[in-house]
Amino acid sequence: MEKHLFLAGHTACYGCGEALGARLVVDAAGPNIITTDATGCLEVFSSRWPQSAWAVPFIHSLFENSAAVASGVEAALKALGRQGEAKVIAQGGDGGTADIGLQCLSGMFERGHDILYVCYDNEAYMNTGVQRSGLTPYDSDTRTSPFGKVSWGNRYLKKDMPAIAAAHGVPYIATASVAYPKDVQAKVKKALSITGPKYIQVHVPCPLGWKSDPALTIKVAKLAVETGLYPIFEMENGVVTKVRKIPRPAKPVGEYLKLQGRFAHLFKKGGGEGEVKKIQQIADENIKKYGLLSEAAEKVAVEAEKE
């Protein structure tokens, strides 16, 4: 059996993208790390006493302070002359990162701590039963942005966290998706080779919250990328240096949305076509902004297949 640093036996749901994401991250980082985590699904399903899924040093403190606790860990390693002993990885979900934890994250970025911050983005507060966060996509039906007679669901666009990180002068920023595990791991390794603050945002489907088939987690994640809704890129010193090209022509967003109950209302109620169009516009803008479309469709498809 393959040896992992995030162990089996935890209590995540079937098809949980976040559990897969966390395993990919710590396996890529290796044993010489210290990890922090915000309150949320990951902490709950991985660290219920007397068990722990973490084969690396792990500390969970509160919802909003993963980045600040990591800042303290990093400062302590420096003060004690133990920098060589471990790299520091702070983790959080989208709510713990982009909403309640944003202030601590800003402080960590601004002070230039040598920490990799990983945001597992499953696009809502899943641990409390699916409420919207700052990273919930447009029109998503959640318990606090419900679809109703006069509502199409979440009214806001995803907060642009990579741009916020970039505005702090963070030298390495990347987005990734559990659909492309090798890419996630390469980015973690690259991030850890750079001194200073780093930010990686990994798209991790949540079958429970997205109301998608647990068996289709990877397929759903792939479609988010292939439609242009979740652009995968690297940003170094404020400049986008690499994007994951998607096969031409890009898949229509409907293919992605239809697999998820959180968007089902767009296909039932009259007038939903207009909303789907708006979401298509978001994808089109991403495609344009990041230059996502490949020149040669076949080559990209083959590369993606290898992973």
Binding site: I34, S47, P50, H60, S61, S71, G72, A79, E85, C104
Partner: protein, 389 residues
């Protein structure tokens, strides 16, 4: 040992430096600011080799020292008032994870109305956070308490955070002659921190695990036992401090003129010095009055308090904070401590000195002299009736 005439904040910073903290994180707030400024300057001058983390809030300051302490670093922070309240969530977390962080609380009133002056509503409001709380009477004690605080916090039987409370402005901004300890002596008293458990790949462990109904209560009970058990360590450390440095201002409690006293005043913090002066004057008039100084408020030293108060006829508690809807917190705790004592003294609570209102020698004398005319309900002292209309 060198005697200098110095500001309270400076004396505290000098003593914190003697403790050789590895990580310091603090955020500016009046009246704590001078302490963290002094420490920043020491780090900038290269006199203090510590990581000084300039955080974006008190919440982050507490979180940074939490992370640092869990990594095995001796960690220190300081705050006041709103800053302490902003830290509240983290305070419970630090004690729950049994991390020996030391903090100075420069006591200040709580908003609203906003008020930067002294009372003890801040630290009293977080009394249930699971920290040891020690209250300083003067600058010398505030300073000395920091060396003792790290010893108490890091004791293997304690492993709990310690809050040194000193009255804002009255102690932080006043100047007094202070005896400062030499580094060599401080090192002998406080050896480097040797954590039993800390974050390291050499022994990967999980901090901050979730506990369900089947185990949470036991973890909380262990915290309570450790905190209650720390009374012994607080006493031990105060005694050893006395042996080494010749200074003793009490361990859990201290007393003044309590022999044969019929009336005993009970208080915490800088008002103790004022009360001592008042007692000297009252004693000259033949009033049999004494003082019980509560130095350690958490854990609450019930036995020591009982012992000191048995035999008194009347107890006059002076609170510089209160629990709205209930009364003086110290008064309430004193009543609870004496409830099983036969012929227990009558206890009267006084809420005084809120938001920087002066508690003068005269205030204390009046409290003693007017005691027969007031009921047993805790009362606010020196209220301006005109402002209450």
């Amino acid at each position: 040992m060198a005697r200098t005439f110095t500001e309270g904040s400076k004396a505290v910073a000098e003593t914190v430096k003697l403790c050789r903290p590895n990580v310091i994180a603090a955020y500016p707030i009046t009246p704590q600011t001078h302490i963290s400024e002094e420490l920043a300057q020491m780090v900038a001058n290269g006199e203090l080799k510590a990581e000084y983390v300039t955080v974006e809030s008190e919440f982050a300051a507490a979180s940074v020292v939490l992370g640092a302490s869990a990594t095995g670093a001796r960690s220190y922070t300081a705050t006041s008032s709103q800053g302490l309240l902003l830290m509240t969530e983290v305070l419970f977390n630090i004690s729950g994870m049994r991390l020996p962080v030391v903090m100075t609380c420069a006591n200040r009133a709580i908003s609203s109305p906003i008020n930067i002056w002294n009372d003890q509503q801040d630290s009293i409001s977080v009394r249930d956070a699971g920290w040891v709380q020690l209250y300083a009477e003067d600058i010398q004690e505030a300073s000395d308490l920091h060396l003792q605080a790290f010893r108490i916090a890091e004791h293997p039987e304690v492993l709990l955070p310690v809050m040194v409370c000193m009255d804002g402005f009255i102690l932080t901004h006043a100047y007094e002659p202070v005896d400062l300890i030499e580094q060599k002596e401080a090192d002998a008293f406080l050896p480097p921190y040797q954590p039993q458990y800390y974050l390291t790949p050499k022994n990967p462990i999980t901090f901050g695990a979730m506990m369900g109904p089947e185990s949470y209560m036991e973890a909380r009970c262990q915290l309570d036992r450790a905190l209650c058990g720390s009374t012994r360590i607080v006493e031990e450390v105060a005694k050893e401090f006395k042996k080494r440095f010749g200074r003793f201002q009490g361990a859990l409690v201290d007393t003044y003129c309590i022999e044969g006293a019929e009336i005993v005043l009970v208080a915490m913090g800088s008002v103790i010095s004022t009360i001592k002066e008042a007692i000297d004057l009252l004693r000259k008039e033949g009033v049999k009055v004494g003082l019980l100084k509560v130095r350690c408020f958490r854990p609450f030293p019930r036995e020591a308090i009982k012992e000191a108060l048995v035999g008194a006829r009347e107890v006059l508690a002076i609170d510089r904070a209160f629990s709205p809807g209930s009364g003086g917190v110290l008064a309430t705790e004193i009543r609870a401590s004496l409830q099983d004592v036969k012929k227990a003294p009558e206890i009267k609570g006084h809420i005084a000195g809120l938001g920087g209102r002066e508690i003068s020698v005269e205030t204390i004398i009046n409290i003693v002299k007017d005691r027969k005319s007031v009921g047993i309900e805790d009362r606010f002292v020196d209220l301006k009736e005109a402002l209450l209309k």
